[in-house]
Symmetry: C2
DNA sequence: TTCACAATGTGAAAATAATAACAAAAAAAA
DNA sequence: TTTTTTTTGTTATTATTTTCACATTGTGAA
C-alpha cells in the first residue's frame, strides 16, 4: 500500500469502532451502505476506503465484520502498542482517562502528569499521576510515544517543549493555544472553540437563508 | 460573498483568536506570514482566506488587527449572539464550561443539563444546571440554538432526539457514538479516540519509514 | 433456466483545497 | 532619484478528496 489519504485514516478508525459494536451485537457481515449510514457518509466512500486498504467483501453479503476489524488493526495499529501520557489532570484530562478506562486497545495510557501535589502520587482510573518535573524521566522510562496536552493554555508552549525534549513522537494538543514542535514530531491540534464557532456559523447561515 | 469553504470558516475562527491575543499585546498590525506561523499554515493560505472575505491589508504594513477581528466577527458571528447549552456535566462538560468561563463571546453558554440530582439546581462557573427532563422547556424558554453533547455514549441517541425535538438548530457531539438528526439540524461530530489513533498512526509511520 | 435485483469494485469526472508564481506597489536603501 | 526589498492580491496550477457511473457478479424468484 503506497499511501493512504489523511481522511481515510480517520474514517478507518471510525469504521473500526462501529464494527466493534456490530461484532458485539453478533453481526457477522455488514454492507457498505450500513457503515456509511452510521458515519454519515456515502457508501461509495466506504467502498473506496476499503479498496484502498485492499479489502474485498463478498458480493451480496457485504464485508466480514471480524476480518475487517482485523485488517484495519493491521493498518493503523502499531505492532506492539503505543504508550500514551496525558499532561494536565484537569477536567479534560480526566474526561479522556475515563473515555479510555476499560477499553482495551493498542493505545495504552500509562501515565498522567500534573503540578497539583494533591493529584501527584494518586491514581485515576488506574493511571498513576506524576509531577510535571518528572516528565522527561517517566516518558523515557515508560517508553511513552504520544502525549495528550490538556494543560491550561498558559502552559501550552512550555509543556510542548518539555515533551519534545523528552523525545515524544506525537502530540495531540487540546489546548486552544497552537504550539511549535520540530518536524519529526507529529502534531495534531484540536480546538473546541473553533468547532463550536463553526456550528454556530452554519446555524446562522441556515437561519439567514 | 457567495460561499466560504468549510476549511476557511474554521481558520477564520482561529485567526480571530490569534488576533485577539495580538491585540491584547498591543500589536496593531500583522503580516500574513505571522498569522500563518501561528496556525502552522502558509502565508498564501492566509491571504487567500482573507481575500475570500474581501479584506484588504496595507502593503508593507500587513493587516490591521482590530479591523480584521471586526470583519471576521461580521462574517462568522450572529448579529445578536447564539445561546448554547451543554448536556452532560461530567468531566468533559465541566472542561467546556471552564474553557468559556470569563471569555465574553457572541456564544453564550446559558444552561447545562444533567441527570445527577446533586448537580441539578447548582451553578458551575455561573451556569445553572437543569434536569434533563426540563430540557425541552428550558431550551425553548432561553432560546438555545446550539447543544453540546457531553453525555455518556449510551445516552447519545436519546439526547440527540430530545434536542431535536426541543427545536435545537445545531449539535456538537463529543460522544464517541454517531447520532442521527434531521437535515435541517447542523451536526458536527468529534471523536477524541479517532484523533488519538490518527496521531498514533503517523507516529508508527514515521518509525517504520 | 432466465431474469431481476442488490451488492461490490473501480475508472473517470467533479468538487474542494492548497500551492506556486508573479504583478503591483509602498517603503527603505543606495 | 533610482534600485532593492518586502509584502499584498490574485490567477493559474496542482493535489487531494468525493462523487458519478457503470461493469460485474452472486442470489433468489419466476
Amino acid at each position: 500500500m503506497k499511501h493512504l489519504p489523511h481522511k481515510t485514516i480517520e474514517r478507518l478508525s471510525q469504521y473500526r469502532r462501529a464494527l466493534l459494536i456490530c461484532l458485539n451485537n453478533g453481526q457477522m457481515h455488514i454492507y457498505s451502505h450500513e457503515i456509511a449510514k452510521i458515519q454519515h457518509i456515502t457508501a461509495v466512500q466506504v467502498r473506496r476506503d476499503l479498496m484502498l486498504i485492499g479489502y474485498t467483501g463478498t458480493l451480496r453479503k457485504g464485508y466480514n465484520v471480524k476480518e475487517l476489524i482485523e485488517l484495519i488493526g493491521q493498518i493503523i495499529d502499531s505492532l506492539d502498542g503505543i504508550n500514551v501520557a496525558i499532561i494536565g489532570m484537569g477536567n479534560l484530562g480526566r474526561a479522556l482517562i475515563n473515555y479510555f478506562a476499560g477499553k482495551r486497545s493498542h493505545l495504552k495510557i500509562v501515565a498522567s502528569f500534573d503540578i497539583n501535589p494533591d493529584k501527584i502520587g494518586n491514581k485515576m482510573s488506574g493511571i498513576p499521576c506524576f509531577s510535571i518535573d518528572e516528565m522527561e524521566k517517566v516518558i523515557r522510562e515508560k517508553n511513552i510515544k504520544v502525549g495528550i496536552m490538556t494543560v491550561p493554555e498558559d502552559f501550552a508552549s512550555q509543556t510542548a517543549d518539555k515533551l519534545v525534549h523528552a523525545g515524544i513522537k506525537g502530540i495531540l494538543n487540546y489546548t486552544p493555544k497552537p504550539v511549535y514542535v520540530p518536524n519529526e514530531v507529529y502534531l495534531e491540534e484540536y480546538d473546541m472553540i473553533t468547532s463550536l464557532e463553526k456550528v454556530a456559523f452554519y446555524v446562522k447561515m441556515q437561519e439567514t437563508e
